[in-house]
Symmetry: C2
Subunit: 331 residues, 2 copies
């Protein structure tokens, strides 16, 4: 008989998300960052009912978010770095990505009607809604940091930064990519290019990282204005928001702005060429259909063709952290 286990695993997957979200909401990781606690101490400190606290903390151990030794709980390195609210430079616990719990019904509706959420007709509508208030702008920027952090760290390590001196991150949001790269490479300076509304979030983030003197914000619209010039231009989680024509337009503008020998660095939840393995790349593409009609995620092979059309010669595709990949194209 066929086991239902693959289906059960998917049924259960969201309970795991929700258990982590409860732990974030209750401040578990922030409190344990101060000192290891027993279950009883954690119950008292975090105001968690003693009847359930041990199961809760042990569930977090089993999910790989806590360690336990001699009856005391501590953060694993990942929780210490990314789920401690007192580390604003790296905290990801306020990301909205995991919390839009109505999304499944939305997805069903989008698939059924072809009508995107909030009446959006393209990415412009989406960004207009996002940048409508300072609050939604910040929330969106935090999400982008959460989405990009793994890639940012991997790119900081693997891209040959020693060959370059300047980078410009096009559609930089908070500036997570440039910030993480500059932390590792003191010889670099960076420009963050984004709509003017992105400035306060960018400046808060770079200040938190202690990088305000090496990272400058340049306001602009990447469709209307020329792109900044730099040795390396970065387009991270940008191209997938747009249709084929806009994608090509951005690649052509990047080619124009780069010096000869300069590099365009694209990172994305790239779909595998055979469209069989990277579930998250495909799911992100569905989110694009829902949020920015016309936008879609793509494979490395598709992007190579667009880059050739835009005039780039040498192109390589490399897998990064988890479901993410980078594409490097040399002018």
């Amino acid at each position: 008989m066929t086991s239902p286990q693959p289906i059960s695993d998917l049924f259960w997957a969201h309970w795991k998300t929700k258990t982590m979200l409860s732990a974030i909401a209750l401040g578990v990781f922030t409190e344990l960052a101060k000192e290891p606690l027993s279950a009883a101490e954690a119950a008292n400190r975090l105001r968690i009912t003693p009847a359930a606290v041990t199961d809760f903390l042990d569930a977090l151990v089993a999910l790989g978010l806590l360690d336990r030794a001699d009856g005391r709980y501590t953060n694993v390195p990942e929780s210490a770095e990314y789920l401690d609210a007192n580390k604003p430079a790296t905290y990801l616990g306020d990301s909205y990505l995991a919390q839009c719990s109505g999304w499944a019904d939305d997805l069903t509706n989008v698939l059924r009607t072809g009508e995107a959420l909030r009446g959006a007709r393209d990415g412009q509508d989406f960004y207009q809604a996002v940048y409508d208030s300072a609050e939604s702008t910040r929330a969106f920027q935090r999400d982008m940091t959460a989405l990009s952090m793994g890639s940012a760290l991997a790119i900081a390590e693997r891209f040959p930064w020693q060959q370059y001196r300047t980078l410009a991150d096009i559609g930089c949001a908070e500036g997570a990519l440039a910030g993480q790269v500059l932390r590792q490479h003191p010889h670099l300076t960076a420009i963050g290019f984004d709509l003017p509304q992105a400035r306060p979030g960018f400046e808060a983030y770079t200040r938190n990282l202690g990088l305000a003197d090496r990272m400058a914000f340049q306001p602009g619209d990447f469709f209307r204005d020329p792109l900044p010039s730099a040795d390396v231009l970065v387009l991270g989680h940008v191209l997938h928001n747009w249709g084929r024509e806009e994608k090509l337009q951005l690649l052509r503008k990047a080619h124009q702005a780069l010096p000869q020998g300069g590099a365009l660095l694209i990172y994305e939840t790239l779909i595998d060429d055979d469209r069989r393995r990277n579930a998250l790349g495909l799911i992100l593409s569905l989110m694009m259909h829902a949020e920015v009609p016309g936008g879609y995620d793509y494979t490395g092979a598709e992007c190579r063709a667009w880059l050739a059309e835009a005039g780039f010669c040498k192109v390589r595709v490399e897998e990064l952290d988890g479901p993410e990949s980078m594409i490097v194209a040399i002018k």
Copy 2:
């Protein structure tokens, strides 16, 4: 630098659940059970917007729920068996387990206040609410089938059924365990024991399996009434609903009802003895705290001690499918 990937994986987990739920809601698996379809045919047949249908179906391929060959999509064996609504005997797509999307907030509240959902003080309150209407009774029974199917199939294969002739499933819900066992072992007959309200669901399920002549429903309350007698008594996902005293009471009653040499078979999302690995067992225990205060999941070591206290001699613990285990105790 520490990669945020383990946290990102958990953030993303619920998107995977929700993508599957959309596919169930849109009837993807039920339609593909009739014949393989191209993306365009699927869009037309299922009324899915052509703009997103390929990403959607490829995401389901990447999630392991569909296969694709020559541009046509088919169900994998698991989807064909469990997600085709035209197979009522095995369909799990109507399970509520994955769909209570408010649960994270509920969990946070329960952990904070120690007050269970819907004012429940113990399992009795929970069952009173569940059995309040025919609709909620059926929904609960469907959930129990979804929760138990993997164990039921594994137990049908691995338990030495050839040594026994009768079983009684105590708290049988729809009767999934007994039904799946009897499908594989024609020499067996079974009693399903549960509250009277469980009868219609039990009878519909056993009829769907073509087992109505070998499975009988016996109404009763396992705290107030004597348990039925049979060579094998089964307690599946029952003990975890209750506190220590009630757990022991049920084990003692099972011991009493069994003939000498008879077997008590317990299956449960058993927590590993070290309480470090089985995240789902621990999460289910949190669900018990939320739904049936006093109830909790437990380890094999804990259960061995209770079984000894109840008079059982030979006890063995065996891992089953996914996060589930069975405990076999001989009188």
